[in-house]
Amino acid sequence: MNIESLMWLIPAFPLAAFFLIILFTNRSNFISHTLALLGAGLSWLASMYIFIQAVRAGDLAKLPFGSSLAWLPTGSTTLKIGVQVDPLTAITLFFVAWTVLMIFIYSVPYHNYGAPKGEEDRPGLPPQGATVRERTHGKKSGAGRSLHVVPSVEPLYARFFALISLFAFAMFTLVLSDNLLILYVGWEIMGFCSYMLIGFWYGKPSARDAMVKAFMTTRLGDVFMLLGVVALYSVTGSMNYSAIFQHTQALAASSGILGLSWAGLIAILLFIGVIGKSAQFPLHVWLPDAMEGPTPVSAMIHAATMVSAGIYLGLRFFPLATMGWAPGQAQTIPMTTMAIIGTFTALFSATMALAQNDIKRVLAYSTISQLGFMVAALGVGAYVAAAFHLVTHAFFKALLFLSSGSVIHGVEHGVLHTGDHDVDAQNMFNMGGLRTKMPVTFWTFLIGGLSLAGFPLITSGFWSKDNILADAFNGGHYVVFGVLAVTAFLTAFYTMRQITLTFLGEARTRSAEHASENSWVMLFPLVVLAVFAVSLGWVGIPADFPVLGGLVPNWFGTYVGTMVSGVELPAGHSPTPLLTSLVVSLGGLYLGWRVYRDVRVGQPDPVQKAIPSVYKLLKNKYYIDEFYNLAFVRPAKWFAETVSYKWIDRGLIDGFLHFIARGAWVVGTVLRVGFDVPVVNGTGDAVSAGTRGLGGIMRRWQIGRIQQYMILTILAVVVVGGIYYAFVFFVP
């Protein structure tokens, strides 16, 4: 099979799995997850093959693999849809395929495949556990048999696999597309899937709220993005990436809005879409709430698909945002916007992460923060560094989410075992000491956490983050550099807080004591992802790094750098960023361990004790949700209730209708009495009476004896035939 057809097939496998599961196999959990895994696995195989081919191909940035079909004739031109693989697509495909496959595998044990059905389980609610009668473990109860609560299988198991298959399909479509339109299609399907999956347990009111919130918030960005797409099409007349960037003149022309060029305006519009999808300030509010979905979904959204798609779009339109810019010059307006928003978001969400107790929420804020890093990197023109951080972040964040899911799963097992249903299995203050209970999870979480914190030299997160800091510093963007350094410090601090609270020290609840390690099917993805979280950094070590630089070639920089040949950043020689990285990461980690190492049961957060007012502000996420509620939601509700419904709908429209109706009724009555009864009915009656009279006369001809009709017919035939015969033969 050649690469062209293979590229088309990659999204097709999960799509086929989705339809098969939805339409046919949704009764059988086994067949459903087999189909989903098969789809993801085949896509993974194809992606790896294409990735290897893409790496071996020379000058892929200029001559990408591609294949396209004419799809929709639009006037004189034809809209083409197609697939393409260039270096950016190749690396994105690489991490998407890996993380998707691992998340799929992980979902099987996460949803307790093979466990019995719970008695209280309802579709739309998380499984509550099943009571089984089995041998109690432990020797002191003897050989007795007793009731025992074990995890129960997810009631909507098959639906879950169908939806994440669709999710994977959308992401593959988005990544492989060679034009903006199909990218937008994948983008929107992904929005829909995130809506369905965040609200997967739709029986929970909080999940319902979260799904609506996520959908509405991202939609806000999508509207602007659609505007950008339309503007781009109307300016360049094409949707294809390679075609778009050839219209430099048209793009450089002034748009007349805010003094921006068309390129700048479109870049900003598209960037608003990125803000929505990648949860940048001020549209970041949906991402933490998206934790209401099952953990594989969180991993999917945070690592493999949604937010990565946002950054992918940013990378894809980097040439647009940087049009007319060269390294060393002043930034363009879109770049400045990106740098400001990215930097601010990074710091802002890192602070909020400090005060969260839910293990997944901390990770959610860290995601926003890391995405801020990437956006900021784009803002300072560090294309390669942003792409590199995107890849490494995808792996270690997927690892962190899956590990945290493993932790929650383990603690939930403990909850079911002890029966303390008041214990929240996601609250870190209910954990502690899990290091010994769940060793594999601990080590993988530790690797992921250190990578997130940028533990020097060995973790991939260090290298990618260091790249961003170095590029910011070398480009002379000291403010960005400084803020990001502080953020990195905070990142290390809250990561260590999380690790310490969760795994180190003593168990703070009985549930945590009874937590147990999960099955190897669940741990296998963690191990695989952990390997990547460590090793991936080594493909992007800058050549000028002290001591280590040059030992390994900077393959990543070279490969992805071909995408932006012409606007490479100058190589830096300053040790400042390196030292900063070392200090902030090690310092943050140490401080985090120091502060949280001996938190006892029932004790409040040490930070809360130290600075209660700031903690309260952080805990409540700067009251942004409340602010949005007050500023947008309540006025909108008031408007809908009072203005739209009461005044316009009831008063104006209904009143008008009632008036018309009364008038029509009056006119109708007049017409009926004056015209319909005497004229129309009279005519009708006369006609029918006439018809009846006529029928009475004509019925006498109708004897109703079919045989006599037939006799007449035959006689007629004979006569007519005779005449015809006579004419033909006897008339000369």
């Binding site: 045989q707 006599q708 006799i711 035959i714 006689l715 033969f729």
Partner: protein, 171 residues
């Protein structure tokens, strides 16, 4: 010569029984005369060296259609009484019409030059397999043949539906 005599006998018997079919007083007798008439036609088919259709005539007409008709005769009467008028009032008009048609057709036919010719070469013995192949040959008669099968199936379903009595209470 023998063949001609034989033909005349068979034709006469067939025509007489056909006439009795339409004039016999007893319905059952009509049906039995019909059997004889159909059998005579089968013999004529044999005369014409269409042995397949001769056998099919016996199989389909006598084995199936005649039996069906006899059943219908038995099912649509309360007694064996066949009294009462069996012809409609204007039957002589019908007779006249039929005779006129007969005369007209014979006269018309007799002016045709091929009227008095003798038989051509007899059929190839392999015509029957050939006929079978042609019936399912898409370039020849496959479509009429299949349409005929559909027609038969439809008639089967329709006949059962029409003739089957509705159950009580189902309207």
């Amino acid at each position: 010569m023998i063949l001609q005599i034989f033909f005349l006998i068979v034709a006469l018997v067939t025509l007489v029984s056909a006439f009795l079919v339409v004039t016999a007083r007893g319905l059952m007798h009509s049906a039995l005369w019909l059997v004889l008439a159909l059998f005579g036609v089968a013999v004529l088919f044999a005369f014409l060296e269409a042995s397949f259709f001769a056998v099919v005539q016996v199989l389909v007409y006598i084995g199936a259609i005649a039996i069906l008709i006899i059943f219908a005769v038995m099912l649509t009467r309360r007694t064996k009484d066949d009294s009462g008028a069996r012809l409609i009032k204007g039957w002589w008009v019908a007779m006249l019409a039929s005779l006129a048609l007969f005369a007209g057709l014979v006269v018309a036919m007799s002016t045709w030059p091929g009227f008095q010719i003798g038989p051509g070469a007899g059929p190839d013995p392999a015509i029957l397999p050939q006929f079978g192949m042609d019936l399912v040959d898409p370039n020849k008669y496959a479509i009429p043949f299949e349409v005929a099968s559909i027609l038969l199936l439809a008639a089967l379903v329709g006949a059962i539906y029409i003739a089957a009595g509705r159950k009580e209470g189902k309207g």
